[in-house]
Symmetry: C2
Subunit: 416 residues, 2 copies
């Protein structure tokens, strides 16, 4: 008997038929004697519908009120799933974020979880009741409803698993695991049985979209065993999906690269001709952070004659806001010759824990792109990934070429 | 400067355009210097959509979970209205039933308000902020979400007005006041400038649908000045609607009858041939009440040879449930020769505070119906109303004939 947290995303609960399917899967685990906490998203399309209503009323809706509206999506799903479970004879009880006491800070629309009160859930689990919790939402110190931002239900699931010291956190989605890249772009893409946390972190942040980045960080930090599975399989099927592991698997050594990740949602901003002095990066990025804009890649070129160029990427939806912040701060916080930007870019990355012990990955990657005539605009590297920013029109081509060059369609030989 | 509670029903907030209209009306009152608490229903159709989802999953959904689902309708509206107000420069803050602390009992889907905490609202009103509260919902002692049942938003509005000792509670709806009867049935129906609480109570309970019955009781009990207005008029128009008064207006003396009310939503149940002994009514209605079924009319005929017939009406949606309860209790709690029912009935009533000082109203009513060949199945009377149950096919005919016979199309002469 294990304590399992299962998280179902929007498409997995997109209709009453699918909710009934989720109930059947939950019933199977319940039958097997497991204690279950189910975290659900809003029915697919619902969050967008709600936000669109708000946008009809204001170009810049009050974020506190936006959260009041958006949080209803998950609240509907928890009630419906509880009803579906009771209909097949399983005791269930739903909780909103506020009811279970998912306490967050007050950063509306992108709040962070601070603590979770597990008392009520423990009592329910002890009596054989399935606990259903609204993902994506919490409540701040003053009782205001907050949301965790897009994809926040994954984070809710992992945070609940951590708070309950669950044996496993299963993330159900519309894919049956983590692939070497998006199979819609490369049909030969292969499902990975395991992937390390670090790789997953890079894959998620680079736009693999299977899991929300914060949930993976959270899982790593709190030692939560995380598994990605498909909710579209027969509820009685026992597929294993992809397990996210803490340590690199010995037999994975041979696989230098685990996957090719990409992200179309970024935009690039360059601040040209700023003074090359200590503190210049902070004077540019400080106001950006103060405006709650997340920055992804940051690149600073070597300066010449006391000046340098500074580039970074932000989410495309925050591109204009970031430009506005910079033009307001320009001359105040820093001087610049020019501020330019481009929202028609994408980021493509090769990711692999094995990269650490192998050389030549970067040059192999750059050569492959050069052979196709793809110009690289920005480069950034970490221990286990190399990312490049390129014109977005080359995205599919770059991903296909890199998947092929690194032979990702073939299973790692030591695993055979 | 006054403290005004305004309640807007589902059709008044049925689209973002209409919500914007509500915001404009609120803005006018705000400009005039009033303190405002706005209570809103779910956007029209929304509650039905949500309940239909639940019904797809279970024929008999868990009521606690049904409330979790249903309460989201109003939560969406409060957030949207707050956003609409801020968009035109007015500070606003939304509260769910749980946040404002509308404390109710735990009778899910038909909870009753026990107390309201006005501290947070007072603070907002003091700072010129418009307070927006989700109608129809509350929270029980254990933090469970509850709803007050259909039309409960009116009750929320009146209860808030009572808790805040508001100067007036304005109920905005799709009609511009209380009419002598439904103008869709009798085009000559006339809007009443004032109507007494007692009349309104009878009108509402008899199905006038303008106000929910419990809200009128509440308003009478806590001396809340209640006004019915149309939300479809120009937000800048200053119509007076119908004021519900505590005392009968002197100049109304002449108007013996204020209106003709009716209700199609009832069903009739007769328990035939029960023992004519003390306690028999309780042994029949006790189990009905225990099953949380509301009973409206009750009629017991004079018994013969130690037996009597006992009839009552319930809401049509609870007709089958009531029959089930009785067949279960039969032979246990009471013996009966036969239990019969009819759901194809309606109730038509003449209502008027002036009835108290006038005779002959009943005979005039019965004659008018007899002249049209309409058979009366049940009769019940109070100080200010006479109700009859008839075949539902005669409803429109009966209402028209009675409106004419009591000359309701003409303004009361002393008022001219």
């Amino acid at each position: 008997m294990a304590l399992i947290v299962q998280k179902y995303g929007g498409t997995s609960v997109g209709s009453t038929d699918r909710i009934r399917n989720v109930a059947r899967r939950v019933a199977r685990y319940h039958r097997e004697g497991h204690q279950l906490v189910i975290v659900v998203s809003a029915m697919s399309g619902e969050t967008n519908r709600l936000l669109a209503l708000a946008k009809e009323l204001s170009a810049d809706p009050n974020p506190r009120e936006l959260d009041v509206v958006a949080a209803t999506g998950e609240q509907v799903t928890i009630g419906l799933l509880a009803i579906a479970l009771e209909a097949i004879g399983i005791k269930a009880r739903s909780y909103t974020g506020g009811q279970v006491k998912v306490r967050t800070d007050s950063a509306f629309t992108k709040a962070r979880i601070q603590s979770i009160d597990d008392a009520a859930m423990r009592a329910d689990l002890g009596s054989g009741t399935v606990v259903i919790v609204a993902g994506f939402q919490g409540v701040d110190e003053d009782g205001n409803i907050t949301t965790l931002g897009r994809g926040g239900s994954d984070t809710s699931g992992v945070a609940l698993a951590a708070a309950l010291k669950a044996d496993e956190c299963q993330i159900y989605t519309d894919v049956d695991g983590v692939y070497t890249t998006d199979p819609r772009i490369v049909p030969e893409a292969r499902r990975l049985d395991t992937v390390t946390f670090e790789e997953m972190l890079e894959m998620a942040s680079l736009g693999s979209k299977v899991l929300q980045i914060r949930s993976v960080e959270f899982a790593g930090k709190y030692n939560v065993r995380l598994r990605v599975l498909s909710s579209f399989e027969d509820p009685e099927a026992t597929s294993q999906g992809t397990l996210i592991t803490y340590e690199e698997d010995k037999h994975m050594e041979k696989a230098t690269i685990s996957g090719i990740a990409f992200n179309r949602d970024e935009a690039k901003i360059s601040v040209m001709g700023v003074e090359d002095r200590p503190g210049i990066a902070y004077s540019i990025l400080g106001p950006i952070a103060a405006a709650n804009i997340d920055v992804d890649m940051i690149v600073q070129n070597i300066g010449a004659s006391g000046h340098t160029d500074f580039s970074f990427t932000v989410n495309r939806s925050e591109y204009q806001k970031a430009l506005d912040v910079l033009s307001r701060e320009r001359t105040k916080a820093f001087k610049a010759r020019e501020i330019i930007g481009d929202s028609r870019i994408c980021k493509v990355s090769v990711v692999g824990i094995g990269m650490r012990s192998h050389t030549g990955i970067a040059s192999k990657m750059f050569k492959a792109l050069a052979d196709e005539g793809i110009n690289i605009q920005m480069i950034s590297t970490s221990e286990i990934k190399i990312s490049v920013v390129i014109d977005e029109k080359y995205l599919e081509l770059a991903v296909r070429v890199l998947h092929q060059v690194f032979e990702l369609d073939k299973a790692p030989s030591a695993g055979a």
